[in-house]
Symmetry: C2
DNA sequence: ATTACTACTAAACGAGTAC
DNA sequence: TGTACTCGTTTAGTAGTAA
């Protein structure tokens, strides 16, 4: 439910909940409600009518006032707000961080790494998707983006274990789940000993992001890093 | 802080918190914020100006967008809302119940009871005030008030122990903290074996409610029973 | 006492546009 | 790109009052 007036109505629902209308039928006059909300009696009356029409409350009008009970729908809206807030207030990290960078063509290393079975298996297991063979490279430019990138180091990560084969050692890779260009679900990956510096993002996804978002070198792309 | 537009602003603060602006400086354009809130870019711009002027956010405008950090004041408002909601959602009883009754003159028993030292000591200890010697009696009339009175039986109470003296036995008294006439802090008291039926409320307070609220027999009084 | 309609006033909104 | 001003339009809010 996405109502234009939802917030105004939530305000009223909260006032009604404060007199217990979410648990039991409560009696309140429009005059008293108006006082509580610091609005006129007429407006309070209109609010109740709107809440009733919207199905957020059940109401019976008596000569002594309105008997009001917040409906399941109304309680649901309060609960939704509550859980939103709880998530925000009780998570020690910001729920998401947005970075913006410019597309550039890498050295083709991404394809090499993502094709390694040992990595690939872990990507599937820990990120939940089969990585498209290849990475999208973004160059960070602004001071804000570089600073924000640096903050990521303090974030909880998904760790992909390294391994050895006969030729060489493959190091640990840190992943941050992310949404690319407001659309594609993927992940930032940072090889601990990368050829790139901290101003570069490497991104994997289940599909070819370049094709999917129709990106060319020089295009700007927003990446929203979310908590794992 | 009681701002008229607080709720509209809380809506915006919540959207900003969703991009992490309560934990770190976040970058967002007025256009993007507008999209999130389903309002116009101009209105989003105005909202940010208002939030800034009100001290709820700190903002730095750059050519790429606004760098925004929710201030302590802003975070405080979100927290206040959160704890309000938590209290409402996680308390199994309604936070308060309001009853209305008509003043009548009792048999003077209240004064007798409240003067008993054994009761008085417990009133002071468990309710936090020295009871005025005498009770205010209210008669409940409407079906709603009688039904609501009955619900109180399921409520948690403050129990005042009974005692014996040489003459007779004094029973247990159940108390419900309450606010009388929107002003006076006191308590409903129910003697377990009372001379009155369930349509009568007996109220004690640190002062003489009748005098303080200038009440005469027949006047109507609202009593807000709160959780102990 | 109540609630809520009608008619009006005040406020918020957004299109156009400047910077 | 950005932000934010002016100003006409839309919407919300209230006073008066009926039921």
């Amino acid at each position: 439910m996405t109502d234009k007036h939802l917030w105004r109505h939530l305000n009223t629902l909260l006032a009604l909940a404060e007199i217990g209308a979410h648990k039991r039928t409560a009696k309140i006059s429009t005059e008293y409600l108006a006082e509580k909300l610091e609005i006129s009696q007429q407006t309070a009356s209109r609010y109740l009518i709107e809440l009733e029409r919207g199905g957020w409350i059940k109401r019976t009008i008596t000569p002594e006032g309105s008997l009001i009970r917040i409906s399941d729908k109304g309680t649901g809206e309060l609960k939704k707000l509550y859980s939103n807030l709880r998530f925000l207030m009780e998570t020690s990290y910001p729920p998401s961080v947005t970075l913006e960078g410019t597309v550039f063509t890498g050295l083709g290393e991404g394809a090499y790494y993502t094709s390694k079975e040992h990595y690939k298996k872990q990507f599937i297991e820990k990120l939940g998707f089969v990585p498209y063979p290849g990475t999208l490279n973004l160059k960070l430019a602004t001071e804000y983006d570089l600073k924000t990138r640096a903050e990521l180091d303090a974030y909880p990560t998904i760790e992909i274990e390294g391994f050895k084969n006969e030729d060489r050692t493959f190091g640990v890779v840190k992943c941050y789940p992310a949404i690319i260009g407001n659309k594609v679900k993927g992940a930032l990956i940072f090889a601990l000993r990368s050829h790139y510096d901290n101003s570069v993002l490497e991104i994997i996804a289940p599909i070819c992001i370049r094709k999917h978002l129709n990106l060319k070198d020089g295009h700007k792309v927003k990446v929203e890093v979310t908590l794992p």
